[in-house]
């Protein structure tokens, strides 16, 4: 049985028609993982025992004639920043290399209740800091389309595992592009939900006003199914929201798509531009109204993002001090040395860089010039989107100015790496939902189309994403 093109619905049908058992299915995925991992390194931990146990429970339900839940038997990989009880959770860091999660994240409880089978914890840039998965303490993940290139980051492993058919779906996390970028680089669908749509309880935090968990899948339909399982208000996350579901009827002839001129300026690879403009043209041919829009404060987005991201990260990562969990430095003379040496020894260079930037931006004398200023510019960026959404329903553009780059090409130049996220960070700053849908290739390198919608309008992203998918066939 080939597991290459199985969708969630294929699995539900296959299980209920007894074409295969849940154990057979997950075993075939575990075999694929074993075969591909030596080249790919998408996983930090393969949770074979857990997966087989969950699959067995599904098979017992089938025998008893219990109705199959929506994700029953579906092999799912989980980014290693999301706690799965009893399993190692490293956040890609040496600091947490032996940390075992004491509880399930809310999103994990939800996918377990829906019957998903967790096949492993995926590789990531350390604490979510990176755009290539090269900042992992466990080695880089390779792009399944070209093993000499990066899969994107920070959720590189989660994207690669879906692209390489090691899992049917996966869960990633996006703070400034960490789902959408690897989705684009690996040729899969990746959604960053509206801020507040999905609970952050049990997620190792990077930047608390920006982080969101979201699905990776081969198709928009599968991403939608997984999103509907994980979404919802959670008493354990006070920033989570139960939104009104839109009942708008979708009509392509009424759709207004905005194309921001700032996202097509100098710096965008012309080969990517060609693919994106073709995808947009196909929407026009299908009856949508295309309009050029302006997001004039875009040039400030990257600086705004990196001040806020590093400031919030410096606070969130203060807990990694070697006292309650994680690695503790040996033979330190006093408490201060315990802190500075535990962190000095076990945190990677990008993490140190960002903590230091954030510490500086928040320190006395610099707080107003950096942090407060950035929070004001953040308001301007949100206002740009609010104005745009008065005229259009969806914003379309590239995910990144660059094609998947070679491993080692950018990792020693922080600014070069930061520029990769230039089109994705504004979406997190404004709290909007954004999706990357694969729409073409340059050579054998995938290119994703980014679609952005108003808050809690993931439904529109799915409708238009499905159209883009059809057009790309």
């Amino acid at each position: 049985m080939t597991n290459q093109s199985l969708s969630i619905k294929d699995i539900t049908t296959g299980l209920s028609q007894k074409k295969f058992s849940a154990v057979e299915l997950v075993q075939s995925f575990l075999n694929t993982i074993k075969e591909k991992e030596k080249n790919l390194n998408a996983f930090i931990e393969i949770t074979g025992d857990l997966a087989l146990k969950e699959a067995k429970a599904i098979d017992e339900k089938i025998v008893k004639g219990v109705d199959l839940s929506v994700l029953a038997g579906v092999p799912c990989a989980v980014k290693d920043a999301i706690l799965v009880e009893g399993q190692r959770c490293t956040a890609g860091s040496r600091m947490l290399k032996d940390y075992v999660a004491p509880y399930d994240a809310t999103v994990i409880k939800k996918i377990k209740d829906a019957g998903a089978v967790i096949v492993g914890k995926t590789n990531m840039d350390e604490f979510g800091m990176g755009a290539s998965t090269e900042n992992s303490a466990f080695g880089p993940t390779k792009n399944p389309h070209d093993l000499s290139r990066v899969p994107g980051g920070s959720s590189g492993g989660a994207a690669a595992s879906v692209a390489a058919y090691e899992s049917v779906v996966s869960l990633g996390e996006d703070t400034g592009g960490s789902i959408r970028l690897p989705a684009s680089f690996c040729g899969v669908v990746g959604l960053k939900p509206t801020y507040g749509a999905v609970s952050r309880n049990g997620i190792i935090a990077l930047a608390s006003s920006l982080d969101q968990v979201g699905p990776f899948a081969k198709t928009v339909e599968d991403a939608e199914i997984l999103f509907n399982v994980i979404r919802g208000k959670d008493p354990a996350d006070s920033t989570s929201v139960e939104p009104q579901i839109s009942n708008d009827q979708f009509l392509i002839s009424k759709l207004r798509i905005g194309v921001p001129k700032e996202y097509f300026a100098k710096g965008l690879d012309p080969q990517i531009e060609k693919v994106i403009r073709e995808a947009i043209k196909k929407f026009e041919e299908a009856g949508a109204h295309i309009e050029e829009i302006e997001l004039p404060n875009t040039k400030y987005a990257l600086a705004t993002y990196y001040i806020i991201n590093t400031s919030e990260a410096s606070a969130n990562l203060a807990r990694f001090d070697g006292i309650r969990y994680g690695e503790q430095a040996k033979e330190t003379a006093n408490l201060l040395q315990t802190y500075i040496r535990s962190r000095g020894e076990s945190l990677g260079p990008e993490v140190k860089r960002r903590i230091m930037l954030g510490t500086y931006a928040l320190s006395v004398g610099y707080y107003d010039a950096y942090y407060i200023k950035a929070q004001k510019v953040r308001t301007l960026l949100k206002q740009d989107f609010d104005s745009a959404f008065k005229k259009v329903d969806i914003i379309a553009g590239p995910v990144s100015p660059f094609l998947p780059f070679k491993i080692g090409e950018r990792v020693d130049d922080p600014m070069a790496m930061y520029l990769v996220d230039i089109y994705t960070v504004p979406v997190n700053l404004a709290g909007l939902p954004g999706i990357s849908v694969p729409v073409g290739k340059v050579g054998n390198l995938p290119v994703g189309l980014q679609l952005i919608a108003r808050p809690f309008r993931e439904d529109l992203l799915f409708e238009i994403g499905k159209l883009a998918e059809q057009h790309a066939k």
Partner: protein, 101 residues
């Protein structure tokens, strides 16, 4: 360009010990990134409110009642600490005669 002393000061605030090579590398990296941040100087923000949250939410509070956990959970959490003793997390002296400077 940040001075070495400024980098060491930030590192101390951040509670991170750096090697000599790291101080030099970060001096260069941080200066480059901070120079990039200067682009915000030209943003027109007079009269603009800082935005701490993208979604307009009011503070969501629950009753301030403790949620008691089982002994098992407590034991599991203590077990994770690198240094522990008799059911407590063990740390070095917090107050000592001027040693923690």
């Amino acid at each position: 360009m940040l001075t070495k002393e400024e980098v060491q000061h930030i590192a101390k605030l951040a509670r991170i010990e750096l090697t000599e090579q790291e101080v030099e590398k970060f001096q260069k990296d941080l200066s480059e990134i901070l120079d990039y941040f200067d682009i915000l100087k030209s943003a027109k923000t007079s009269g603009v409110e800082p935005m701490t949250h993208s979604v307009p939410l009011q503070n969501v509070m629950r009753e301030d009642t403790p949620q008691k956990q089982s002994l098992e959970v407590v034991e599991e959490l203590i077990e994770m600490a690198p240094e522990k003793e008799k059911g407590f997390v063990r740390v070095k002296e917090v107050f000592s005669q001027g040693k923690n400077k």
